[in-house]
Symmetry: D2
Subunit: 304 residues, 4 copies
């Protein structure tokens, strides 16, 4: 698929665990770029997160005649800086609505490739860029792999809300079963609520164990039926095994995907909700996701 | 229902047509207040528009012990001024999510009491206040009565959109069949797009003849089945007749209401859409609507 | 200064007055571009207004090797569209802080080349682009020529204000002598106040006759001492004469410029004022201004 | 001045240092309220910070007939919650421009009672409320006492900036001598820049040692000449001694106050600056400041 040399696996025995993971993230990002950066790209979306740094690093290594005429569309402040520092041409999403491919990170990815994004409060522009891409490719590390959304990513689903509607949306979220939704505060940077780039609030809405009622999961099936075959490179097959044993994937029965979709639709329908952090089939989920693993390998999810 | 004296009908023979209508609007507003202002009101929403001026006028005439402890929640700048000038107590919608009743105008009202609002670009806060009301009551003039939405109100459905998503939303609206959606400009006040109080754009999306495909209307029925019995006071029964002859109501066949609901849901589901100007059963439509008529009478729609 | 052919004077005897003026505006814009578009331009600011249309028209006529590598920075929505339609390369002011030259219109220009801008509510970005230019060049029509600011442009000085501070700023403006400052409304586009692209209000603050106390003008002098020699091309010298007779220029005595500067400084110092529409020496005034005249000629103000 | 009982000094020997300070902060807040809450108050501003909690606590202890008719104006989200939880009547600063008194915290206070505020990114509304008060009273703890601004409060002066102007403002700040001004990031809450409630950025601009050139301080004088007599209650007189020995107050010479004022004026004059965190005589500085001290006492600065 590509003639670029990929770096040797980073998992040398003397490296620290952190360095091993970092190497795996780089490996994942490089592979994602090598497999998905189009030969005649015109518009490419660049997301944010620690793994996307390596995505841009790899793109900058491509022959200049493959990147010179490409406009790169950022999802936010960090992406913008990455693009400029790499000497690439910067565009803006309000100008381009048809991108060849979009590379971005994720806060959590389930076996159906549904994602949660928005830990950084920038989910709106991230989703706008993602849906503008013909292909959406996720790169992340192993901690983002999850049997079901809202399981590993503790704060819950980030939801962007027009400020005067915050109390109303909170009440609706509680009615939907969210366990303790809260307006995100600004922390050390800002007293009072965190404000998004669009001037809105973020509500973090946790749901229990992937928000799937037990009765809705009568017939567990392999996620690979829906989400494609898992694959490992340069490492063990532990993940592969898990995927082969769907019973081990909590809450991943028949209807898991449907419940994600139903929740996604319901959240967006609430008056006051601008957008939420569930990236699903109805707006956009990745065609493929690459994960840097603990052991220095890369796990790939999705159809080739 | 009320012991307050209502003013004599304004339709004295020597009045100008404009004065007759104005009198009818006042009559409509007074009747709406008399029939819907609760005995022990705590929180009351006040919308905007030329008829709402009379709503506030009537509320200010109520005995002070009925209004002194009431907090009035405005839907925007004009309502705020009206409330303050009437010496009433002002609140804000971010503080109260449970209003006893909300009075507001509308740009168009169909026989099912679905409304279009947002000609003034303030649809978001208007909808937020409306859904916070236990009862939503519309007061307007006869020009707002329509056999089907997007028929009489020419600019189409106002849609509030996060600015960078405007091009994407326009493309989606065209795909949905909108005939020439456009970003609303600022006119004499502002070069470039009109900006809402939330910092967003407005797209006006017209749809043909109530956006209902002919094939979807095999069995025209009376709107009164759904929307309640029409009623006139102090005037002719022309409207009543129209309602009794559903065949005359263009596009008002089986499925008309369903199509409004489907469009409303679809619009809100689009990435970039904050809110749209269709007030329907899924978020909030009025329980009753009062219209000042050309002949000085008041037409009432909805269930008593 | 340039080898490009300039069009023949538009003032053919059979043209309508409007067509004559339009021709003069084009002539003014072409001349401004011919005299100020740098040989090795890298970054060029493009403002808005009816005359700027001809600026972009002229730039698009330049040899492509003079414009191909130039990034054009718009001051707003209209400029953005003009740049893109002309096939020029679009940039954004948040990326570039050192522009070679900026071309823009103005609502009023006094003999010292102080300007009022902001009739279109976009004064903030216009000023930001202007101060980022090494040279700021104004193109306009004769109606914008004024003996003193706030004389010909009736609404007064547009002032961008953070919304909750509007009442406070109004009270301060009255204290400063403004005759009836008002919050600009949204007109037909929007109920309630006009909102700027930055989410703020505009207050229009008129001042009487150039806000210059009579006692402050003891020693009238020629504006040309300060503002450079007036010059006409292709037309009569009426304007030149006026400039030679400073006594005829109302309120243009000693101190006129100082009063503009003092007012500009005072306005910006008010809590709640984001920016005002006076473009003066302390932030940026044009080095030269070109005006399309009623008789088809071009009047030029400023030092060559 | 008041007949309310003040609590006994908190400095019991067995308390932890933190508890002693907390007791002193409460003592400071109570005393500020007792000395400055008007007998016939109508509008009172409430700021934010850990000491303001005790301000509201004390106000809630006042006889209800002194507070029932008072509208309390918050400077932000936290103040709003405090007011509501205390059962007090909430107003908004866009409605009231003449407050009887405003109580707020500060990040740093110099001997002239100039303050730095804005560590919580809410400096704009805090300044708007402060200037709307006839009296502005600061309550804080001893760490906020400083010989000169930008000395103890390390991040520097918080400056609210319209986002597209951020690069320009940074360049101007460096030219003014700021040592490393930076756009404040959102930290754990938000990727990219922190956004204020007005949709703007914050730049933190540090200046060396109170930004006062050594040569500008030929004749150190006692700050008490300008800032009033320091005073202690219930504790040692260490602070008093320091104030009596002006030589010990670094950078507090002649011109210190003038330099603060000059910097304050210059910062506000920069295109793109909405407001800065220096609260000085030209907009508003406190008439009196109360500090909870390490030893459980209260230090008071300002004229009685």
């Amino acid at each position: 698929m590509t003639t670029l040399a990929t770096p040797a696996a980073a998992a040398a025995p003397t490296l620290s665990p952190a360095a091993i993971i970092e190497g795996a993230k780089r490996l994942a990002a490089y592979r994602a770029v090598d497999e998905h950066f189009p030969q005649n790209a015109r518009y490419v979306g660049i997301g944010s997160g620690s793994t996307v740094v390596y995505v841009v690093e790899r793109i900058a290594q491509l022959p200049r005649d493959r990147t010179d005429h490409v406009v790169f569309i950022p999802t936010g402040f960090q992406s913008k800086e990455l693009i400029l520092k790499a000497g690439l041409k910067l565009g803006a999403i309000d100008m381009y609505t048809d991108l060849d491919v979009v590379f971005d990170g994720a806060d959590e990815v389930d076996p159906f490739l549904n994602c949660i994004k928005g830990g950084g409060a920038c989910l709106f522009q991230e989703k706008l860029v993602a849906i503008s891409g013909r292909k959406f490719v996720v790169v992340a590390d192993f901690r983002k792999l999850s049997p079901s959304l809202s399981t590993h990513y503790a704060p819950g689903i980030p939801i962007e809300v027009v400020p005067p509607a915050a109390q109303y949306v909170l009440s609706r979220l509680v009615a939907l079963g969210s366990t303790g939704p809260t307006i995100r505060m600004g922390g050390a940077s800002k007293a009072g609520p965190c404000i998004t780039d669009n001037g809105n609030f973020i509500i973090d809405a946790p749901f229990q164990d992937g928000f799937i009622p037990a009765s809705a999961s009568p017939r567990p099936i392999s996620p690979s039926v829906d989400a494609g075959l898992g694959e490992r490179v340069g490492g063990s097959d532990v993940l592969g095994k898990e995927e082969g044993h769907p019973g081990a994937a909590v809450g991943m029965g028949v209807g898991a995907n449907e419940h994600v979709e139903e929740l996604a639709k319901t959240l967006k329908s609430i008056v006051g909700v601008v957008e939420h952090g569930i990236f699903w089939g109805g707006d956009k989920k990745p065609v493929m996701a690459y994960f840097g693993m603990e052991d220095g390998s890369v796990a790939v999810r999705g159809h080739h």
